[in-house]
Structure formats: C-alpha cells, structure tokens
Symmetry: C2
Subunit: 147 residues, 2 copies
Amino acid sequence: MKFSTQEEYGIRCLLRIARATTSNGLTIPEISQFEGLTPSNVGKILRLLRLGGFIESARGQTGGYKLARVPEEIIIGDVLSVLGGKLYEDGFCSVHAGVEGICHNSIDCSIRSLWTTIQNLLDGVLSKISLKDLTGKDELIQIMINN
Amino acid sequence: MKFSTQEEYGIRCLLRIARATTSNGLTIPEISQFEGLTPSNVGKILRLLRLGGFIESARGQTGGYKLARVPEEIIIGDVLSVLGGKLYEDGFCSVHAGVEGICHNSIDCSIRSLWTTIQNLLDGVLSKISLKDLTGKDELIQIMINN
DNA sequence: ATGAATCTTGACTTTTTTGTATAGATTACT
DNA sequence: AGTAATCTATACAAAAAAGTCAAGATTCAT
C-alpha cells in the first residue's frame, strides 16, 4: 500500500499555507514555486483542500489561500481522506459478523478483517494528529505516545 | 493511501493455497475459478509470490502451487512488500536528522516524519501477523493485543 | 471603466498501474 | 514418442491516476 502523490503534495501545500506569515495568504504561483510543482497542479490540489473545508480562497488581485480553521482543528486523517480516499472502502460483511463486527468464515472475511484492522489502527492515529503537530517542533512519536 | 488490487488478490491467492488440502497444491485454473480472476492475472500474481519465496511451483500435468514454508513463517508484511511495495520509499533525510532519525527543520522533513511514523507503526503490526493468523479462527485484534 | 492579478472549472494529454494474450517450457500419463 | 496438462515469460491492451491546458469569473488598483 502506498501514499498517492496527491496526498503528499496536498499535505505539503497545506503546510506551506499554514506557515505563511503574510496577511493575504499564499497564491498559487507562490506555492507552485516553493514546492516545485506546476501552477495547474497546485490549483487542482488546492481545489480539493478547499472543497474539504481546510482552506479558504480569496479571488482578485490581492487574493490567495489561507487556512479555514486554526491548525489544531485540521486533522490530518481528514485531509488524507479528501486527498486520497480511505484505505479500504467497505459496506461488506454486515451479515455474519462475529464479535466486534469482524467475521472469520470465508477468505473474503479473513482479508476484510485484516484490512479493517489496519484501517482502524491508522484511523486511530491519524485522527489524533493535527496540522499543528506537523508545524510544531515536537516529535510526532512523542505526540502519539501522549495521546 | 490505498491498498492496490495486487495486494488484495495476492493475499487472497495465498490464502487459497494455504487452505488447500490436496497434495498437489492448487493450479492456476482452480485459483482462478475460486477467486473470479482470469488465469492470466492469477499467473502474474503467483509469479510475484513465487519470486518472493512464499510459494513454490511444480510444472507438468500434476503441477500446481504450494506454500514454500509453514504459514507461521509467512509474514504478511513481507508479502505486502512484494505485492505492492513499501508505503514510502526513503533514502532521504540522512543528514540533519534529530533524535530517533527524524528531523523537523523543513516542510520536507515534517512530511517525512509523518510518513515514516506511519510506516513504522504499520511495519510493527504487519511484521507480527503471519499467514497462520489469517487462516485461523482467532480474532486479529486479539492477536495484535497479545503481541 | 479598464487592466492586471488572482482563483475556478472542465476538458484534454500523459504516465502509471492493471489486466490480457500469446508463445514457449516442463512434466506425467498413456 | 506423443499428447495433454501444467507453469513461465514477455509483450500487448485497457483502465486509472496524475498532470496540463485553456477559457472563464472575480477582485482590486488605477
């Protein structure tokens, strides 16, 4: 399993915006230059972030992008969902489920059990990491241990 | 981040082979029918599993595929690596690393820190789950807690 | 008002991943 | 030996993801 480039670039752009100091926010050309991406590509990615409610845009000559909320309230798990989807989309295994919603009768369910176990593990971690944790100076490992 | 279809199909095929009772193992047409995949596709996936050392093949009229080792020794993390690669291929950030090999100077490293943190988390779990855990009747969650 | 800078959207192209087909090699049975 | 069943390998085709482009809409400064 891999991270998509959209996830990587999306988080990067979001970090740039989070760290920007100018009051107008950052423009597409600026982010584009910082990250070495084409303006078109940045525009496409920022669109997703905007639709996801993580950033807000201003048009016109003094336009640009800013965070839509404070970094503490921007959860990395949510951002990754918007950029790359969930690890495994389910809707399966609703019948015949054993304890804790996991069954172990068929091969299908052996695998779903694995996938959902991993998914729950990841969700648990990613739902506790905010954009602030990435911009700050503390170690991620320490943050995870404390939560 | 998502699982590739190759990872899903690969694990499925491996589970089929692990559960087979016939002494000759399973043939491509058999697995193909069980899993609803084309023989070509199964052949391609089994090739990866064979090169990875998880299964062994016998040619000829009575040929087929068997596990190359006992299920306890087939680690799911290794299988997924062969089928879909690592979550994040690194080789970066070797200089300027802080404690525990993680630095936090640039945006680049903020993200690498996130990726590697997640990667280590996953590796830790997947290295403890064997094929036997997937074929058995015990809950994966329980297995993880006990390890 | 006009022009310049910006964001917005959808269609298009390229690249990567996935899946298919074909020809060949090996083995066992008769 | 010959035939049928199997695995093996490479090249080809289709689908999905990633990236690009062009036309439009909005805002501010002059």
